[in-house]
């Protein structure tokens, strides 16, 4: 334990946190609009392969992310059309979406197996890189890390201070009332779902372009499901997602770093902590002991038809 690389651990935590942060913030917006999309894993993996394939073909990481966003959005649109226009059950549709996404990604990915990925450099932040402690932890990352935090900030701002955010939250809390006030429930929800797809796609692409970086079938390995847990852990607050992502990512990184430092760990039990903590957090939030704590959007997962 003498030279435990704490700074490297923190930097590793941020890398591990970014994909679930992106997917989580997208799902947060979806759930705030009252929709539960369990297909995050599927959208992420489609994003991962679209991002990798486009980046490889065009040799441009930016275009890669763009492709990933579109891939995720396309899949989300399928979910949106099914649940919003055809009124299918959200839970079942989301699960089917994950199944389909995994299959689609594996099909697209066949020519890209074993191919070396592109290298993504860090953002040149000049002197900030050299700040002791903060430099190596915070300022030596690639652009997507900062963009993801920017997205969190934007989501927080929009949800909290803009009319659009208010409409979205109103729809999530009580879609009938919002509809009566003239809000466009279906259109808003569709937009939120597509945004969720874009974010999940970017999160997936972060895996295949930066964290791993290559394509392998099934490479998300459950990250999408963690993103779902993350939103709950966050209590549906944007900054909470950031904290949660760092915690979830941190614990993943921590058990590996502890082992690298020669400490024996009980991997499974350490991995359980975030989920148990999330349940505890959920209980505290729901039991109303914390004043003004936001709860699950009241209309979460409920279908909306204007006629009824």
């Amino acid at each position: 334990m003498t030279d435990f690389p704490i700074l490297a651990l923190l930097a590793g935590m941020i890398v591990a946190a970014t994909p679930i942060l992106l997917a989580g913030i997208g799902e947060l917006v979806v759930e705030k609009a009252g929709v539960l999309n369990l297909g995050v894993e599927g959208m992420m993996i489609v994003g991962a392969i679209c991002g990798f394939a486009v980046a490889y073909e065009t040799q441009s990481v930016t275009l890669g992310y763009l492709g990933a966003a579109m891939g995720g959005a396309a899949l989300a649109l399928v979910f949106g059309v099914l649940t919003q226009f055809l009124m299918t059950n959200q839970v079942a549709t989301g699960l089917a979406l994950t199944l389909t996404g995994l299959g689609v990604a594996a099909l697209i990915g066949q020519p890209y197996i074993g191919i070396r990925g592109t290298t993504v450099g860090a953002v040149p932040l000049g002197p900030m890189r050299e700040i002791p402690v903060l430099g190596p932890v915070l300022f030596r990352h690639d652009a997507m890390v900062y963009i993801s935090i920017l997205i969190v900030a934007c989501v927080w701002y929009v949800l909290r201070f803009t009319r659009a955010g208010l409409v979205l939250r109103a729809i999530g809390e009580n879609h009938h009332a919002a509809h009566a006030l003239g809000c466009k429930v279906i259109v808003t929800r569709l937009a939120a779902i597509v945004f969720g797809g874009v974010c999940a796609g970017l999160g997936g692409a972060y895996l295949s372009l930066v964290r791993v970086p290559q394509w392998a079938e099934g490479m998300t390995a459950g990250a999408g499901w963690i993103a779902l847990a993350l939103v709950v852990f966050a209590g549906w607050r944007a900054w909470g997602v950031l904290v949660g992502a760092c915690l979830f990512g941190g614990l993943t990184a921590l058990q590996l770093f502890l082992q690298a430092a020669g400490v024996a760990v009980l991997g499974e039990y350490l991995s359980m902590i975030p989920y148990v903590m999330t349940i505890v957090a959920l209980v505290i939030i729901s039991s109303g002991r914390v004043r003004a704590a936001p709860c699950a959007p009241a209309s979460l997962g409920l279908p909306f038809t204007a006629a009824t």
């Binding site: 299918t88 199944l99 729901s286």
Partner: protein
């Protein structure tokens, strides 16, 4: 109407899937035939594949039946996968504890333990829901991850086969007759899990049609406030629905692990609990519908396997095909709903 909608869905899937297979350079008609026809009627394969249909469909149907009760009442247990796992661990644990003693009491004990395991795991979201008003969708989903980690820990640690050269996974129940959920009639695929499923099917039909609880469940789902006025205890209903669905999933897990799967291993669960949710909805939460949905989905699994085996189709293509199938099935449901509504309006 329902049948028509489902026929439309199946046809649409065949067309869309056919196009997909054609793109992959396979003869679409052959693929479709292998998926939907061969497991049932091919003279060479069907005598094995037909019983396998029961083996694959039984846990799906059993879990989906349990879930459908709650879903009807607006109680969303989507953690059946976790209850399935814990049921299997309890059931297998009860059996392994007695190894190598042989006794007729062991298997019934395992069945009980399996149901208990699923029940207890489902009680966590149930009690949190009734005591603290936490959202049962999220708690039950989160508990799936915890259950998966417990499963990994069990197959690597406590339940690891001491004679298995250190490989992860428990002893195989195949070589422990008292605890083995064997095929009861050779070449039929029928094991105790299948029998339990048939029994559960009958119970579910009677319950929903004739019993007070079924009435309360339907009422709670359709009009929560009216249900409360008519004396339905919402907390009690949560406990009952989650308890039943948890026990059903636990039973399914126990039967799977002691029979077809044979041992506790890191990924024996293979997503039954999640697939069962889809089955419940495809069956429109109706016991008979669930039975057909379960069998149909099992058919696409077994047929899909055959297709990829015989034609060298990537398993991903089969996954996409199944995904399309589910989407079409879910989407055509809307036709039924609208037509019914339209017809009832016409009647007025």
């Amino acid at each position: 109407m329902t049948v028509l909608a489902q026929l439309i869905a199946v046809t649409a899937t065949m067309v869309a899937g056919g196009i997909l297979f054609w793109f992959l350079g396979k003869n679409p008609f052959e693929v479709i035939r292998i998926i939907f026809w061969d497991p049932l009627f091919d003279e060479n394969l069907s005598s094995y594949a037909r019983p396998q249909l029961l083996v694959k469909a039984a846990p799906l149907i059993l879990i989906a039946l349990g879930l459908s009760l709650g879903f009807r009442a607006g109680i969303w247990n989507i953690g059946a996968e976790g209850q399935f796992i814990i049921g299997a661990i309890f059931g297998a644990g009860a059996g392994l504890a007695f190894y190598p003693a042989e006794s007729a009491i062991i298997f019934p004990l395992m069945v009980f333990a399996g149901a208990l395991g699923g029940f207890l795991w489902a009680m966590i979201p149930a009690i949190l829901k009734t005591r603290f008003n936490t959202n049962e969708i999220l708690v039950s989903l989160l508990l799936v991850y915890v259950a998966e980690l417990i499963l990994a820990s069990m197959s690597l640690g406590l339940m690891r086969n001491p004679e298995g050269s250190g490989f992860p996974g428990s002893r195989n129940f195949r070589s422990y007759p008292s605890a083995h959920n064997a095929e009861l009639i050779a070449n039929t695929g029928i094991h105790w899990g299948v029998i339990t499923t048939v029994f559960a099917l009958a119970v579910a039909c009677v319950l929903l049609q004739r019993h007070m609880l079924g009435y309360q469940i339907r009422l709670a789902g359709q009009a929560a406030r009216a249900a409360r006025f008519s004396g339905v205890n919402p907390a009690g209903l949560v406990i009952i629905c989650l308890g039943i669905s948890g026990s059903a999933a636990g039973l399914a897990g126990m039967f799977e692990v002691s029979g077809p799967s044979g041992q506790i291993s890191i990924d024996f669960n293979a997503g039954y609990g999640f697939t069962a949710i889809i089955v419940a909805f495809l069956g429109r939460l109706n016991p008979i519908g669930i039975m057909f949905a379960g069998l149909l989905l099992a058919l696409t699994y077994i047929g899909g396997e055959l297709a990829s085996l015989r034609l060298g189709l990537p398993s991903a293509a089969i996954q996409v095909f199944q995904g399309m199938f589910l989407f079409f099935m879910l989407a055509t449901d809307v036709l039924v709903t609208f037509c019914l509504r339209w017809r009832s309006r016409m009647a007025i």
